[in-house]
Symmetry: C2
Subunit: 470 residues, 2 copies
């Protein structure tokens, strides 16, 4: 892997093999040693690598040979059509937010913060420490490493008002990322065919998890201030739903943050209908001009099921999140997690705990806030200057995204393609709507690589829009 | 956090608060500055810390007060009963195989190999290398790190006969443990209400995953040589099932290994019914006197969906496995994985690949084989000598377990409790049966800690059995 000398030989022989007939014998080790001026060990290593790649085979005592080409008749998997039956849910394609892209484009599409926004030093040090600890070889309890459960509970407790019972560590279930938590919550608290209210637009991953769980998604319009309580009441009453999925702080994609008053109104509606509010606090660490106060911190009757992620703020490799729930709901979710994945790698849990309890974490978060603010403003300014047809109603107080409305009738498919041809990747808003989009939107992530190129990116979007709308 | 001065004040005030009445006013900042010889900034910081901990509250303009005692009324989650409705599947308790236990017992119950059987040095080195690599901060593709996909495909290809198309890296989906893969396979290839044939007895985790997926489990008797083809045919025909879950090599719990002939017979039945065989190769690295040849290696028409785990053989912290499937089945499973967890930590994937491609891995596997053999034989001898009433029909050629039949009428609940009181933990066979057990069985894992105590453990089991059956 790290031996440049052997990879040089691998590259050379790969070319040789490509030109050779199946079954042809490779030069002897001795000849290769002479040809490449390398040690026999290095040559052997190269030959093993080629064998692993299926290009050559070594017959002991005879030599190394170009492997016979496998029969490549096309396989017939037609019988599977009957065995698989019709899918339970319409397939959704892989989200734009997950696309990886070459380095030379301006990328506004990603769902993940760029690497320069991650606490690299803390993460590497924490992983190395975890690799040397007991956690590298042991299996933690199903619900999580107890100290990490405590940390998640403590984070909520910090804003729990007087008179409200704070969550306990036992209410916390550690997750291998909150996407898994969404799936479990929809399966465990609703289930196939049951109605689930969701803000619209909302996180595509939640729509996907709901569709996989087979629940019946009922969209509720969510403006810049959260869902309208009267509309929400109607939706609960019409459908008999017992679950509302929402992002009260820095909603993805709109960036909306509910006021404290709106939060209480929504909670009142949820309580009045004997329902759960699934509060997805995905951007808890991404406050820009405000600091999020989770609704879950102020509610102790088990109506709020709270999801908190560390994947985006710590590292995509430290895939750890938590769900905090009380009462039988917590037991149902835990049973689903146990059946789904038994437990979460203790190494990742230990590393995550190490990062978030390190004194450097708070320093990192303060710096991150400044960086997100600068990036947000750079993109806002660029868009205002170069793409005035894109209307950004809400200046987000946190999160990673701008949500821009384009002139009605914009062909989003063509627009995103034209932008991409010009070197700018954007995400069509369509993916964030559980049903038909209510307008032509695009989502612009300002946490991507190379913010210096943001003004250029905005200029290109503006030019493409100009071209579309003449 | 790092300011010792402010923590000194926090500690002092915490004592003061504990002795004070709820609502009592704390000394003024000025008084505290004088008392603690600290700056006003430090005192304010201490007060903020106490407020965060919920001990005091600051009313602007009035001062700081001891917070009213938290109400500790028991929470009423009764409303959840209606919201949650009846569970979709009967709850199964946490499996005995997952219990953690004190050090001074003899543990035959675990589902995981003891730490001394793990490649500790390789694992730690691989994790440290991964922590320093790109993998610590990046996000891999949904289906997995390409090099690890290649490795999994190559492992199968090694035993693919001529004329059969070997699986390609693209057929491989990396999993955060094969338990997640089981859930996905049952959801994606069968789904709620659909019949799924399962060997009986079989792995409790597969029964659990099937029950969570809402499929209808149809048990098929599996003897020491695998399921009887005629019985299997009847089950397919009676139920219209399109999926059979089985462990052809070193089945858990029985240790059964199918002959090559039986494997082909089963495959013929599966093909004849347009069905999938889900081959769970959980113990691929745990051969003792044989080397497993997966059925998936010899089948290229997409009828075999193959699961391979590294968690048990590499480390419980390196939670990585793979499912290999072809055709639309692979696409259905991938869609389910994308919805369920988006991707698997690249750090764990990179570390797993590092371990299994390290020259030391093969050395480790050879040593492991010797150790498993010695442990198996030690326990077999001990049981034959001290517990002759426990009948072990099958001497396993691989895997981690002995499956012992006890005299009919043995009260397994009482027996396991009596053994535990005497310091030996065993697992009642009940958990491995999808329906009623067909006899009184226990599973004895010979990969647990401290093999020197195995004879003692066998003696104690023998004594308890003697006591039960006089």
């Amino acid at each position: 892997m790290t031996n440049d000398n052997s990879s040089r030989i691998v590259d050379g022989l790969r070319t040789w093999v490509a030109a050779a007939a199946p079954g042809a014998q490779l030069p002897s080790t001795r000849a290769l040693v002479a040809q490449y001026q390398a040690s026999p060990v290095t040559v052997q290593k190269a030959l093993r690598a080629l064998a692993t790649q299926g290009l050559v085979e070594t017959r002991p005592g005879a030599g190394t040979f170009v492997r016979a080409v496998r029969t490549t008749r096309p396989a017939d998997y037609g019988w599977q059509t009957a065995a698989l039956r019709a899918p339970h849910a319409p397939a959704r394609s892989v989200a734009t937010a997950l696309r990886s892209t070459p380095n030379d484009v301006i990328a506004f599409h990603s769902g993940y913060p760029d690497r320069e926004l991650l606490p690299e030093r803390l993460v590497r040090a924490a992983l190395v420490r975890a690799a040397r600890s007991e956690a590298a070889l042991s299996r933690p309890p199903v619900a999580g490493v107890p100290e990490l459960q405590s940390w998640f509970a403590h984070e909520l407790r910090a804003t729990t008002p007087a008179g409200v019972s704070p969550p306990t560590p036992g209410d916390v279930i550690v997750l291998p990322g909150t996407q898994s938590g969404l799936s479990s919550v929809f399966r465990a608290l609703a289930g196939p065919g049951q109605p689930v209210l969701m803000e619209s637009p909302t996180y595509w991953g939640a729509i996907l998890a709901a569709s996989q769980a087979g629940v019946h998604v009922v969209p509720v319009p969510a403006g810049a201030h959260g869902p309208d309580p009267a509309e929400l009441t109607r939706a609960f009453e019409e459908t008999g739903a017992r679950l509302l999925y929402a992002q009260p702080n820095y909603a993805n994609p709109t960036g909306a943050q509910w006021s404290a008053e709106r939060g209480q109104q929504v909670l009142d509606v949820v309580r009045a209908h004997g329902a759960f509010l699934v509060e997805d606090d995905w951007a808890h660490d991404f406050g820009i001009t405000t600091t999020p106060v989770p609704l879950a911190a102020g509610e102790d009757s088990g109506h709020v099921v709270y999801l908190r992620s560390l994947t985006k703020s710590v590292s995509p490799a430290v895939r750890v999140g938590a769900v905090i729930a009380r009462g039988p709901a917590r037991d149902r979710i835990l049973a689903d997690r146990a059946a789904e994945s038994v437990y979460v790698s203790g190494l990742l849990q230990t590393a995550a705990l190490d990062v978030v309890t390190h004194p450097g974490w708070q320093t990192h978060l303060r710096g991150l806030r400044q960086q997100l603010r600068a990036r947000r403003d750079l993109l806002l300014t660029g868009m205002a200057e170069h793409a005035p047809r894109a209307h950004i109603e809400n200046v987000p107080t946190g999160g990673l995204n701008l949500w821009a409305r384009l002139p009605d009738g914009t062909d989003l498919y063509q627009l995103t393609r034209d932008c991409e041809d010009a070197g700018v990747i954007i995400a069509a808003g369509t993916e964030w709507f559980p049903a038909e989009p209510t307008g032509s939107y695009i989502r612009l992530n300002f946490a991507g690589p190379n913010p210096a190129a943001f003004p250029d990116g905005a200029r290109i979007i503006g030019e493409v829009l100009q071209h579309h709308h003449g």
